[in-house]
């Protein structure tokens, strides 16, 4: 099975040869990969070197936390890569941003109104959790839409709060 894995704009061609060998950009590497089902902790011994890391799935791809450093990667198989190439590079950045609650908590205040023009970095909402007030900011310029919550409400993790179009 062949994959194209991207890290910091650089693409690596990775082939899973068998249980004990992979090839990265054509170089064969001996591996011993162990993971515990349902847990994001993985142990990899590659050419005798022992690494242990957390690997998290996010909406954008995979995050690898290795020795205190976080790597953001995307992994595609060849078919996906071709499909994406045909469709043209992702039109993602200009799309709609849906603000979801990053954790359960209490809406303290919403300093914006529906229809407001907001700038990248502007505070959209203040959420209190674990006795700390957290400012949730807009990742882009745009217009506030679909405001679904009110100050004083408690929200669940990942609950939709508002959108910026």
């Amino acid at each position: 099975m062949k994959y194209i894995t991207s890290l910091d704009g650089k693409e690596y061609l990775v082939e899973i040869l068998d249980d004990r060998r992979i090839s990265v950009n054509g170089q064969i590497q001996e591996i011993d990969f162990v993971s515990v089902r349902g847990q994001p902790v993985h142990s990899l011994i590659m050419n005798g070197k022992s690494y242990e890391s957390y690997v998290y799935e996010t909406e954008e791809g995979l995050q690898v936390l290795l020795r205190g450093r976080l790597y953001n990667l995307t992994v595609e198989d060849e078919r996906e890569k071709r499909l994406r190439a045909t469709a043209g590079a992702g039109a993602g950045t200009s799309g709609e941003f849906n603000l979801k609650a990053p954790m359960p908590g209490l809406i303290v205040s919403i300093p914006v109104n529906e229809g407001d023009q907001v700038e990248k970095g502007q505070v959209l909402l203040i959420l209190e959790s674990m006795k700390m007030q957290n400012e949730l900011k807009s990742p882009k310029n745009g217009t506030v839409a679909r405001l679904r919550v009110k100050p004083g409400e408690t929200v669940e993790q990942r609950q939709a709060l508002l959108s910026v179009t």
Partner: protein, 502 residues
């Protein structure tokens, strides 16, 4: 002599206090909210009583219920821990009125020191230097404060009079910012302490936050156990503490220690407390406030002095003389504490909640972990994000840093994101290693991203790991689909099983 202690707290500090009580043969009574039925303090205590729903206002801040439980269980002493009711004069007074020993200072001392404005006035009278700020005032309105501010000068700090832990604290660079910041500071103070009062203080730039541990018994003895360096902060929250401070020498320690003792004496202090100072670049120091309770970071002092502060608190509360005189207090080596918080350092330190699925604690020589969480325990949004304190001791500060590095790398917590990578990066920072930092260091001169850039990178390993994980998921998904084709009703169980299997 009391026999049974009610611990009016939760989390690691409740566990810490239960341990001390057990080691001196005292009975223990835990109280808990609905979110904490499975918490370690409930499991470890001799007795446990439900307070109410998860929010602190309906449970750990319910003084009335706690007093009822004390009476019902026959507890004849109360230890408040830190936070919640620990610095509430009325709670200490309620204990006294009910004939229950409050393990801490007298209500009058809490009142004098607990209101930060009164505290300043009190120590000034005793000749202790303070940071310039609003004096002798309790309930100042926003108008009053806006009027006083220019006389103090900018930058300045808005601080909650009932404050602690950086809550309700705001930095003001110019008068224009002040109205909005006053509002948010009061809002946060009100929510954290049920008291929206604030006062102003000049911001001492380039300052270190140095605090002294004080112990005082009912026989007139007041001693200090040396300092803790607490300048590593973010949003006025301490993240790391150490003892001794790299900025102090023996002379300065003796001088500041003497002032700390004098400050405590000014309010006829009893039991454990902490005097916080700002120390500027020229070794000038200013009284900041006194915390009239056990401090989160008390273990670094325990580790370098060998003194069990909580056991000593119990001893003092029983009316006995302290086990130590000032000259018995000796400091050996260096200790560092990292506060492990459930928050994502790569995403603006956003709190992270969820069930702890696995926890492998670092152990071995010179390592101590104080925690109230374990695999299966749920981290909820109701309380403080601090889930553990990792404390190490080394013969020297350099050895303590090296030990902390290996301990941080060993620590595995699965289920929530933690700030461990922040601490790992800090341990690699040359400024931290050199002891060259002030209270603004983390926010102004330390960037996790920049620091990480300079660390050894393993892109090929990350690539291999991500690809292997993605591959594994593809394979498993394919298997589930295949099973599913045979027997659609299995789907639900497979999914659950996949998540649960370990």
């Amino acid at each position: 002599m009391f026999k049974k202690v009610l611990i009016a707290n939760r989390g690691e500090i409740a566990v810490r206090i239960i341990r001390a009580c057990r080691e001196v043969g005292l009975g223990t009574v835990a109280v808990y909210s609905e979110a904490d039925r499975q918490a370690l303090h409930v499991r470890y205590a001799d007795e446990a009583y439900l307070l109410g729903p998860a929010p602190a206002r309906e449970s750990y801040l319910r003084m009335d219920k706690i007093m009822d439980i004390a009476k019902k269980s026959g507890a004849d002493a109360v230890h408040p821990g830190y936070g919640f009711l620990a610095e509430r004069e009325d709670f200490a007074q309620a204990c006294v009125d009910a004939g229950i020993i409050f393990i801490g200072p007298k209500p009058s001392a809490i009142a004098a020191m607990g209101d930060k404005a009164v505290a300043r006035a009190t120590v000034v009278k005793a000749g202790v230097p303070v940071v310039p700020g609003t004096e002798d005032v309790g309930n100042m309105t926003n108008e009053d404060l806006l009027a006083v501010a220019p006389r103090i000068g900018f930058p300045l700090l808005i601080k909650a009079t009932a404050g602690g832990g950086g809550k309700g604290m705001r930095e003001v660079r110019a008068i224009e910012e002040m109205p909005a910041l006053l509002m948010s500071a009061r809002r946060e103070a009100e929510s954290a302490f049920g008291d929206g009062n604030v006062y102003l203080e000049k911001l001492v730039e380039g300052a270190r936050h140095i605090e002294f541990q004080i112990m005082a018994d009912a026989h007139g003895s007041v001693i200090h156990l040396g300092e803790r360096e607490c300048s590593i902060q973010r949003r006025h929250q301490k993240l790391l503490e150490e003892s001794p401070s790299p900025a102090l020498n023996e002379d300065l320690r003796a001088k500041m220690g003497a002032v700390a003792v004098k400050s405590a004496q000014a309010v006829e202090y009893l039991n454990a407390g902490t005097i916080e100072f700002l120390l500027d670049k020229n070794d000038n120091f200013y009284f900041l406030e006194m915390n009239t309770r056990l401090q989160v970071e008390h273990p670094v002092t325990e580790v370098v002095t060998g003194i069990d502060i909580v056991k000593e608190q119990l001893r003092i509360a029983r009316g006995r003389s302290m086990s130590y005189k000032q000259e018995d207090v000796k400091w050996t080596g260096a200790a560092i504490e990292c506060r492990v918080n459930a928050e994502d350092p790569f995403n603006g330190f956003m709190p992270s909640t969820g069930q702890i699925v696995q926890s492998i604690q670092p152990t071995g020589p010179g390592v101590r972990v104080d925690t109230g969480v374990y695999p299966g325990f749920e981290i909820t949004p109701y309380y403080d994000p601090m889930i553990a304190k990792l404390i190490v001791w080394g013969e020297t500060r350099a050895q303590a840093i090296l030990r902390m590095r290996r301990a941080l790398e060993e620590y595995r917590i699965v289920g929530v994101r933690t700030n461990i990578p922040f601490h790992q990066t800090l341990m690699d920072s040359h400024r931290f290693m050199g002891g060259q930092f002030d209270t603004r260091f983390v926010e102004e001169r330390f960037s996790l991203e920049d620091a990480v850039e300079n660390k050894e990178s393993h892109p090929e390993i990350a690539v291999a790991l991500a690809t292997l994980v993605a591959h594994q998921q593809t394979q498993r998904a394919a298997q589930i689909v295949r099973r599913n084709e045979r027997d659609a009703s299995n789907w639900r169980w497979v999914g659950r099983w996949e998540r649960m299997h370990r």
